[in-house]
Amino acid sequence: MKIIIQNRSNQPLYQQIKDQIKQAIMTNALEEGERLPTIRALANDLHVSVLTTKKAYAELEAEGFITTRVGKGSYVAPENLELLIESKRKMVEEKLLAACRMARQLGIEKSALHEMLDLLFEEEDER
């Protein structure tokens, strides 16, 4: 698993860690049932506080991506299809939202945006 912390980012550290673990789970870089490093080990390796990794794990657990057993550690939760699809959708939605906002700012119409999307899809298919 790869986690890169940006100190210059405006995003809080725990958020960065959480997002990257989530991504690793969604792209199967971390597999179902796989054991995650302990919060202390991860904190040491990333040079962040144990309170930060703890917060990241707590949110991942609340969102159903990992499970924690007291004294045993944290594991990637069994795949929950609905959750997975929902999260993937949400990720794409966020990017689309940014594109929509930008289009609106630059005065590009909705229909032109639709065309662009169709075109991009076709191009990707041809590859």
């Binding site: 100190n7 809080p12 904190a43 040491n44 506080s49 144990v50 309170l51 930060t52 703890k54």
Partner: protein
């Protein structure tokens, strides 16, 4: 990590020229807490009061959820401590001094002690008086960690040590923390040591606690701002914790990044280090001294 390993409540100690003033803080289990402040800010007095080396005027100290006054012996058995100076007999050998201290702990583990001695390349036949500053600290750490303590309390363990020995000590602390349920509390004025390993930070100044914060959060919420002197006026000054001006521009520390960004869109905003933040909180006061 929910229980407080150490709770200090309204701790007060008056000296002629200095007063520890109703100090409150608590340490979370599983955390390394850095206790920062300038020389003479009250760090050592606080630590000595916790350990009972100074008799407090008032206040309450709870260790592992129990009142220290009631179960002092039992609770102190779970603490390891390293003081800045002088609680060894200079004329004893390392071995003889160890025998004195080991007898005080119910869970003394000779094997652990010997492994530290070997690792630190110490000679048990040597006299304490002949130890260098770095060796002395290592010896003190070996003693503090050899009775399966749950809380390690250290007063300025890194002052006067070279960077290599300091970094060795930081590694040992991180190793100690790998085991569940361990906590560390240490005071220092060398904040770069904390940058790497602390989880929580407590700042004390003139005998009063200024803040008690998560380190990462502190570093996320505070930034250093640089820009044109012309942007500083009565109103904008209020956005900063401290402002330092030179003929070429100003340098400031703020915990209101977004507001600064809004009124000074062209300002340079950089990551602050613990030292910047600490000085921003106590700096003004000290200039006036």
């Amino acid at each position: 990590m929910t229980q407080a390993v150490l709770e200090v409540n309204q701790l007060t100690k008056r000296f002629q020229r200095f007063c520890l003033d109703h100090v409150n803080f608590s340490l979370e289990e599983g955390c390394i807490t850095g206790f920062i402040g300038t020389n003479g800010s009250g760090k050592t007095t606080t630590i000595k009061s916790i350990l009972g080396l100074v008799v407090k005027d008032s206040g309450r100290i709870r260790l592992f959820g129990e009142d220290l006054n009631k179960n002092e012996r039992k609770l102190k058995d779970r603490i390891g401590f390293v003081m800045d100076e002088g609680y060894f007999y200079e004329n004893l050998t390392l071995k003889a001094m160890k025998n004195v201290l080991a007898a005080a702990y119910s869970q003394w583990d000779e094997a652990v002690f010997l492994s530290y001695i070997k690792r630190f390349k110490l000679d048990l036949k040597q006299k304490i008086a002949s130890l260098s500053k770095g060796m002395r600290m290592k010896y003190a750490v070996a003693l503090a960690l050899s009775h399966h303590a749950d809380l390690l309390i250290m007063d300025e363990p890194t002052s006067g040590l070279d960077p290599l020995v300091r970094s060795e000590l930081m590694d040992i602390l991180l190793e100690f923390m790998q085991e569940e349920g361990k906590s560390v509390f240490f005071s220092t004025h060398i904040t770069s040591d904390l940058e790497k390993i602390a989880d929580m930070l407590i700042l004390i100044d003139h005998g009063q606690i200024i803040f008690e914060e998560e380190k990462d959060e502190l570093l996320e919420t505070h930034v250093r701002v640089k820009g044109d002197n012309a942007w500083i006026n009565e109103e904008t000054r209020g956005l900063f914790l401290s402002v330092r001006q030179s003929p070429y521009g100003f340098e400031a520390v703020t915990n209101q990044r977004d507001n600064v960004r809004a009124v000074m869109p062209e300002a340079v905003i950089e990551r602050a280090c613990i030292e910047d933040i600490m000085l921003a909180y106590i700096g003004g006061d000290h200039d006036a001294d």
